[in-house]
């Protein structure tokens, strides 16, 4: 659309184009077509004009108060419940939580052979020492005290004698729950 029309568009659409715009419209097919389309569109939008004299039923204010009492103040959760964007965020969060859950369960299952063993006794899952009796790079053991109690996986530091007493400073305790 050319400047002559663009700057006076509202006047042109209302049917009172200034002389300059009227003259341009006679010469420019492109502007004429666009103005016609915009006029058609404005006519369509005007169809949303309500009929004269429509009123709500008597007692409207009382019903508004009832609505206000029923709704209470808007909480942050309404954002998730009512808006499409909020719903998407909620669904994405749930999906993420589910994925994390699946990931944690799979991690725990892969660690399960290390902690599996007879309950209520300490089980050495990795060789504590090599054939010559020297300490190996790492030792993993699990202590499981009962069916429902957490097992304790102890990762031993390099160079520790295999029969050395556990020292809190030198061990990393990883608490895990035994798979049912």
């Amino acid at each position: 659309m050319h400047r002559e029309i663009y700057e006076r568009l509202e006047d042109v659409l209302s049917g009172t184009p200034p002389d300059l715009a009227a003259k341009h419209l006679k010469q420019c097919q492109e502007c004429r077509d666009e103005v016609i389309s915009m006029r058609t569109q404005a006519t369509l939008v005007r169809q949303l004009k309500p009929p004269v004299g429509v009123e709500p039923r008597a007692g409207f204010y009382a019903r508004v108060l009832e609505r206000i009492e029923a709704e209470g103040p808007v909480s942050i959760w309404n954002l998730f419940a009512e808006s499409a964007f909020g719903k998407r965020i909620a669904v994405a969060s749930l999906a993420l939580a589910l994925l994390l859950g699946v990931y944690l369960v799979s991690i725990e299952r892969s660690a399960e052979p290390m902690v599996a063993g007879p309950p209520s006794m300490q089980t050495c899952l990795a060789p504590a020492c090599d054939a010559a009796g020297a300490p190996v790079a790492s030792t993993i053991s699990a202590a499981i005290s009962g069916e429902d109690a957490p097992g304790v996986v102890l990762s031993r530091l390099d160079g520790e004698p295999p029969n050395a007493a556990p020292n809190d400073d030198m061990f990393v305790n990883l608490v895990t729950y035994r798979e049912q």
Binding site: E55, F60, E71
Partner: protein, 198 residues
């Protein structure tokens, strides 16, 4: 224009201070307007009543955020139109065909069946056009949609819109021009399937 020093602003300040009589005054002052805006869009009395209640509930809870940049009517108008579009989106109304839209006048016109000389388009065409224009308006931002409806449906001039919104006239003109172009573009995409108007 400053909307902070008007009589209406005093009323708003009273509502912000939780004066129930002031809120009642706002409801009574604007209920007809709000109801007719909604009815104009949805053409269903029960839905209009329900959404009008929702609009005033929303006004009650959010009036503390009203910042006097626009007039109260402009603010209420925007909330009202947004509530209508929320309703349409939630209900996923594909075809706005309601019995209430089919007036006695329409029935008589159909019986007379003189489409060639009839200045009004037939009812099914009008409903299709209404459906189309609602879809097109849904492609606009809340602000652009309200501005377009205030201009075309409410018939406000550019000067009046500038006063109501607190924007200057040139900004209003530019916004209207861009909105009209967006509507044309949206229509051209849709009219690959159906014509804009018959």
């Amino acid at each position: 224009m400053d909307h902070r020093n008007s009589e209406e602003a005093e009323l708003v300040k009273r509502v912000q201070a939780r004066d129930e009589m002031a809120f009642r005054e706002i409801v009574e002052r604007y209920q007809s307007k709000v109801f007719s805006i909604i009815y104009g869009i949805l053409r269903n009395r029960n839905d209009a009543e329900d959404i009008a209640q929702q609009v005033f509930a929303k006004i009650y809870f959010s009036i503390k955020n009203f910042d006097f940049r626009s007039s109260l009517l402009t603010w209420i108008y925007k909330i009202t139109v947004n509530e209508c579009y929320d309703y349409l989106r939630k209900k996923r109304v594909r075809k706005l065909v309601y019995e209430s839209d089919f007036s006695e006048e329409d029935a008589q016109r159909m019986e007379a069946s003189e489409p060639a000389t009839d200045p009004h388009p037939p009812i099914d065409t009008r409903l299709a056009q209404r459906d189309l224009i609602l879809k097109l308006l849904s492609k606009l931002s809340e602000e652009d949609r309200s501005l377009m409806l205030l201009k075309e449906v409410e018939g406000h001039s550019v000067e009046e819109l500038a006063q109501m919104t607190g924007l200057n006239e040139n900004t209003i003109k530019v916004k209207l021009f861009r909105t009209r172009q967006k509507l044309l573009k949206a229509a051209s995409r849709l009219t690959h399937v159906r014509p804009l108007a018959r």
